[in-house]
């Protein structure tokens, strides 16, 4: 009797202090680092190639993860329709480029303009237009689907978010909207690749690069640069502007913020808009990298971005970036060194482990119950 209660007390303490989870995590980490290290020594170029591949996917996840994290930080809602906003963004840019050639509009208006300058301005216009469209769409969704549920239990809003997600997917699948087909996405510009081997050289099409070289493409550069610019703008808005201050105040304590004269509903609307704009930009970058759009394309990246947000600490903006970059590497390295079907298993295992060991994520603050 005495002994069994002692064991159960020990067991409870292990659960409380999350020893099991931590021990398991440490074991897996040691094994993974050892295994990858061993393989990296075998072929360093393949290892660096995989790191670059992971960087590309990580930055796209980061853009989507920011929308999750911002919305969660302010309204405590996991917006599952976010991945579908990403899909809509990809389709909007597809129509803009494929049907209206928006990516080269300056050449049409001013024929004398240099083609590259025209492409640059046109592509920026396409990205901006998509972001604005996604922002307006998210504001509409927020107004009609989420706002009426502001005071309802959180689970109601969550279920509504899932409903909105299905609505966007299957409305998109209608034959007169996006159609259910896999559509080839041409993208605004062709892909150019370079290889690194004692210098950086352009990779000519149809020519194999020399052994042991690491390849990267203009898509990688564009994804990284665009993501960094958008993240800096976001950080500036949240930290240095009035609306950013209002957002932080609303996130901290909604009723008090309202008492202080902050238009809380307006702030929430703007938060949805910014998150959706980033997701729309992510959709363009993703489609440009993988050259295909289809109505279900948002589900997996949406879930992965959600995992990134949880890993980084949901509600934390730098956390979303760090979480996404870690997840990108974890995915590509598990695909590269274990097997591709393991990629998703590893991603979701990370989610479970984070929830077990440190539910607040890397940058998250432990949530305080507000009176």
């Amino acid at each position: 009797m005495e002994k069994s209660s002692k064991i159960s007390a020990l067991y409870e303490r292990a659960i409380r202090e999350r020893w099991i989870g931590k021990g398991f995590l440490a074991l897996i980490a040691v094994l993974a680092v050892g295994y990858i290290g061993f393989n990296a020594k075998e072929s360093p170029s393949l290892f660096f190639q995989q790191l670059i591949n992971g960087l590309q996917i990580g930055f796209v996840y980061a853009l989507v993860a920011l929308g999750y994290t911002m919305v969660y930080g302010i309204v405590r809602l996991i917006n599952f329709a976010h991945g579908d906003v990403f899909m809509v963004g990809a389709f909007i840019s597809f129509f803009a480029i494929d049907r209206f050639e928006l990516h080269i509009w300056p050449s049409k208006v001013f024929p004398a303009i240099h083609p590259n300058l025209s492409l640059l301005i046109g592509t920026l216009t396409t990205i901006l237009m998509t972001m604005v469209f996604c922002a307006l769409m998210a504001m509409t969704i927020e107004r009609f689907a989420y706002k009426p549920l502001r005071t309802a239990p959180r689970i109601s809003a969550l279920i509504t978010a899932i409903g909105v997600s299905f609505f966007l997917e299957y409305f998109g699948a209608l034959p007169f909207v996006f159609t259910p087909n896999f559509i080839t996405y041409k993208g605004p510009f062709p892909t150019t690749s370079w290889y690194i081997k004692g210098g950086i050289y352009k990779l000519e099409s149809g020519v194999a690069p020399p052994d042991g070289s690491v390849i990267f493409s203009n898509i990688l550069i564009i994804i990284v640069v665009t993501s960094l610019i958008l993240l800096s703008i976001l950080q500036f808005i949240v930290r240095r502007t009035k609306i950013g201050k209002a957002m932080r105040a609303t996130a901290f304590d909604k009723p008090t913020a309202r008492l202080m004269g902050i238009n809380v509903d307006g702030v929430i609307s703007v938060t949805f808009a910014i998150g959706a704009a980033l997701a729309g930009a992510g959709g363009i970058l993703y489609a440009t990298a993988y050259r295909q759009v289809v109505f279900l394309m948002g589900i997996m990246p949406g879930l992965k971005a959600f995992i990134s947000a949880v890993l980084g600490g949901i509600g934390s903006i730098p956390g979303a970036l760090v979480g996404a970059l870690i997840l990108g590497q974890a995915e590509v390295l598990s695909a590269g060194y274990i097997s591709t079907p393991m990629r998703d298993a590893v991603a979701f295992t990370i989610l479970i482990l984070v929830l077990l060991v440190r539910p607040t994520g890397i940058f998250g603050e432990p949530e305080r119950e507000k009176a």
């Binding site: 190639q49 996917i57 194999a208 993988y290 050259r291 295909q292 079907p341």
Partner: protein, 385 residues
Amino acid sequence: MSKKLFTLMSLVIVAAMLLSSCQGAGGGKIKIAILAPLSGAVSTFGVSTRDGAILAFEEWNAKGGVLGKQIEWVVEDSQCEADPGVNAANKVIDQDGVKFIVGEVCSKASIPISEIAEAKGVVQISPTSTNVNVTLKGDGSTKAYVFRACFIDPFQGLVGAKFALSNLNAKTAFIMLDQGNDYVRGLAENFEKSFVDGGGTIVGKETYTSTDTDFSAILAKVAEAKPDVVYLPDYYNIVNLVTAQAKEKGITAPFLGGDGWDSADLDRAAADGGYFTNHYTEQDTRPIVQDWLKRYGEKYKDDQGNPKVPDALATLAYDAANLLVAAIKEAGSDDPAKVKDALAKIKWDGVSGTITFDAQHNPIKSAVILQVKDGKVNYVATVAP
């Protein structure tokens, strides 16, 4: 009163039906049913199948029929579904007295129809159903009365391997496959076996899932392994993703696939230089194919009055119908039991290749290799197994 009238009318109708069917069976004719989906989502498949089979029967009739009898065909819409297929099969067998069936197009209709054909001793030949269970019973034995005119999916792996070894002179191959897709796995397994048997080496084999969009990790390994050919027997949507990313990674080895590539939505710029196996192409230069194109185009015109080009469905239906009539001629009788034995031993020069049947009633015949080049899909070779 009205109930009596109804009974009386029903009796009259039944009697009329019986009489008419007696007349049909008694004439100097051989009745063959064509079961095809003439309505619904795949109605174009059904129309092509019907047109191809009817052309074959008309040509036999023009030459004096078979065994001195004219061929009479009965067309039923089996809708590419199990229940309408079963109803159509029962109708043609019980009511029209048909002993031979060409059809169905879809496996999910052909399988239930084959159960009926086998039970009632009616010879069935499906032009295009690729599921193994069309000709096999649940216990793995062959249905004696059921045949097909198309090769089954895994067979393309064998032809692909042969093409890679002898035409591309490949020594090494890398296989990419979706483990969750039976079609892909069947092709990949057969490719691997045939490629190794033919003296080639598999330098890598990687699996992915159908929801993947990022193939960079696998392609980095392909680039590292430097194979002579990459075998990717998946559908066009995956092929589009993989080949576009392969170009970015500087992979120059040609990709090789199966008929899953055969789609208007294949990204021909990305898949440029790739090859795939298929049942048939109208670009085939063999005289038998060119002659078939001419005869089909003379009989069937499109809305603008231009000659129609027969697709794979029309061609395979034509071959299936011809195989059936040739077997009746070979057997010297229209007794289905004798015809099925003749069909199992037949050797027939069809448009889609010289056809013989294996023990499971699947045809052994050549396949065509097509290449994606400069935005077009071109005929490259015909490869015999």
